[in-house]
């Protein structure tokens, strides 16, 4: 069995841990540059305001006191995510972090309390320890666990175990809402009389392959209850971009850690560019080897100076944090990088007139600048558009909360 644990309205829930005035309020967290709504509280959803609604259209309703907004505080969210993952690692045989607020878990066998009870305890522990409410779903495959998780979130106790025969559930779920299918296949699916997840599961392999190739066939196989997502390419789902790998042999050197992370960052950045997306930051992690699987994970949250898809810019931000993952004399099983704060190139960035054009990244000019900087010191030559001195103005985050768990000078104050 595989479990999927995810934080409900994760960014909003993180804000609420440190700002209790937001509890019970219609509140949304905004994308970079305070562009549009990327995380909404239940109260906010109930007003019928869609994900992605531009902030400027809602400003009047904020002024009147009806709605609350926060800028995205990815450092805080990254740290809260790290805490949740570490709890999951203590409680599960293994954990695969899928995005900043989602992780697949492999529950321990025969713990004697049953999966639903196990899920409830897990959920209660995360809520008490970190303050984030989660949904938990269990099923034989990741694709089914995703569906179970969605149902779990609507249960009073937040947990759902997929029944042995999920036919009824699949029959009520539109096929294009299945994880990894996506709207772009809707028309082709309809043409083949595939409307629901059940139709997709029961269609013939040939039909499925003709509609969506081997990727869709894998999804259908998972709907049939056969795990098929080992080394799965998560490309179909652009709300998360990550890359990780277990080492063939445990790695014991800082070089090994930093080289693998650099390579995974480059690979993940390629994925980003393929989707024309930018990332605001990432969590990098290194998992310590433990025979029999699992093992503690050391995680650092890295913010990029601005949302980017440039490998160089990412590596420059990541490099200083890598040594913190490394304990001498320790054997590592796995490293990985999970990007967060993803946005489409050009979306909500119109304001940022001074951002270097994307094409410059690999241009001869940039290369020359890199070479000069490498020789005479970082930042000796930079484009004037990068700004001189304090660059905090670059990203518009007018409603930024305190980075209460990662900055000494921004701690919560208590009177």
């Amino acid at each position: 069995m595989i479990g999927l644990v995810d934080g409900n309205n994760f960014f909003v829930s993180c804000e609420r841990v440190f700002n209790r005035r937001l509890v019970g309020r219609p509140v949304a967290v905004l994308s970079n540059n305070d562009g549009c709504c990327v995380s909404r509280s239940n109260e906010f959803r109930e007003l019928g305001i869609a994900m992605g609604t531009p902030y400027y259209q809602l400003r009047n309703r904020e002024k009147s006191g009806e709605l609350d907004f926060c800028s995205s505080n990815y450092e805080l969210y990254g740290d809260m995510s790290r805490r949740i993952i570490s709890i999951l690692r203590d409680e599960a045989l293994d954990v695969e972090q899928y995005s900043i607020d989602e992780a697949f878990i492999y529950p321990p066998m025969g713990n004697g309390i049953g999966l639903v009870e196990y899920g409830k305890r897990l959920r209660a522990k995360i809520l008490r320890w970190v303050g984030i409410p989660c949904g938990v779903g269990f099923a034989p495959t990741k694709t089914l666990a995703k569906i179970a998780n969605h149902i779990g979130k609507k249960q009073p106790d937040g947990v759902f175990l997929m029944p042995d025969d999920p036919t009824e559930i699949l029959a009520s779920l539109p096929a294009d809402e299945v994880w990894g299918v996506g709207r772009r296949l809707s028309r082709k699916l309809r043409a083949e009389q595939i409307f629901t997840a059940k139709d997709l599961r029961d269609a013939s392999d040939d039909v499925i392959r003709s509609v969506g190739g081997v990727v869709l066939l894998r999804t259908a196989t998972e709907l049939r209850g056969k795990p098929c997502s080992e080394d799965r390419d998560y490309d179909a789902d652009p709300d998360s971009v990550s890359c990780s790998r277990s080492f063939g042999e445990p790695v014991t050197t800082l070089d090994g850690i930093s080289e693998s992370l650099a390579s995974f960052t480059a690979q993940a950045a390629t994925k980003l560019r393929k989707h024309d997306m930018l990332a605001s930051g990432c969590n990098i992690y290194a998992q310590i080897f433990r025979s029999g699987g699992g093992g503690d994970c050391i995680v650092r949250t890295v913010m990029f100076p601005e949302p980017t898809d440039a490998t160089n810019a990412m590596l420059n931000a990541i490099r200083p944090e890598v040594p913190a993952l490394f304990l001498p004399g320790t054997r590592y099983r796995k490293t990985g990088v999970v990007f967060f704060g993803l946005e489409k190139v050009g979306s909500a960035r119109q304001m940022d007139l001074f951002a270097p054009p994307k094409a410059l990244e690999a241009s001869p000019l940039y290369k020359a600048i890199d070479a000069i900087n490498a020789r005479y010191g970082k930042g000796k030559v930079f484009s004037a558009s990068e700004g001189i001195g304090d660059k905090s103005w670059r990203m518009k985050r007018g409603k930024l909360s305190k980075r209460a768990s990662t900055r000494w000078d921004e701690l919560l104050t208590v009177s």
């Binding site: 209790r20 005035r21 805490r83 949740i84 570490s86 709890i87 203590d90 522990k125 008490r128 320890w129 970190v130 303050g131 209460a404 768990s405 000494w408 701690l411 919560l412 104050t413 208590v414 009177s415």
Partner: protein
């Protein structure tokens, strides 16, 4: 025999190095003060309401969210949207938050009002 004679520090056979017994890792304040990193947050004290407990303005408190509050514990809670550090009391007179300074009032929980508990204070770090 030679193959499994000795495995990194843990002795199967042969003579241990006399120094091995005395090897110590440096003392780590984090390990001492933070038992559960996933549940531990630091907060900054503002004001003198808990001076009687040795908690001063500007001090750093170590807060463990995983611990349930018992009467008499120093806790962090949220009252009317503001976070506060007080002593938690629960007895026949009801639930209340007590300051450790006579200049500040005791805060009583009204009937049906739930305490918005954040975490238990496990240490206070005061710098001179």
């Amino acid at each position: 025999m030679s193959k499994n004679a000795k495995v990194s520090g843990s002795v199967v056979a042969g003579f241990p190095s006399p120094a091995e017994q005395y090897q110590e890792t440096p003392l780590d304040l984090n390990a001492l003060l933070v038992k559960r990193p996933a549940a531990t947050f630091f907060v900054r004290v503002k004001g003198e309401s808990m001076i009687g407990e040795g908690i001063h303005d500007g001090d750093l408190l170590v807060v463990d969210r995983s611990l349930r509050p018992a009467s008499g514990d120093v806790i962090i809670a949220c009252v009317d949207g503001d976070f506060t550090v007080k002593t938690y009391r629960r007895d026949k007179d009801g639930v209340r938050l007590e300051p450790a300074n006579p200049d500040f009032p005791v805060m009583y929980m009204r009937r049906g009002q739930q305490l918005d508990y954040f975490g238990k204070v496990t240490a206070c770090i005061h710098r001179f």
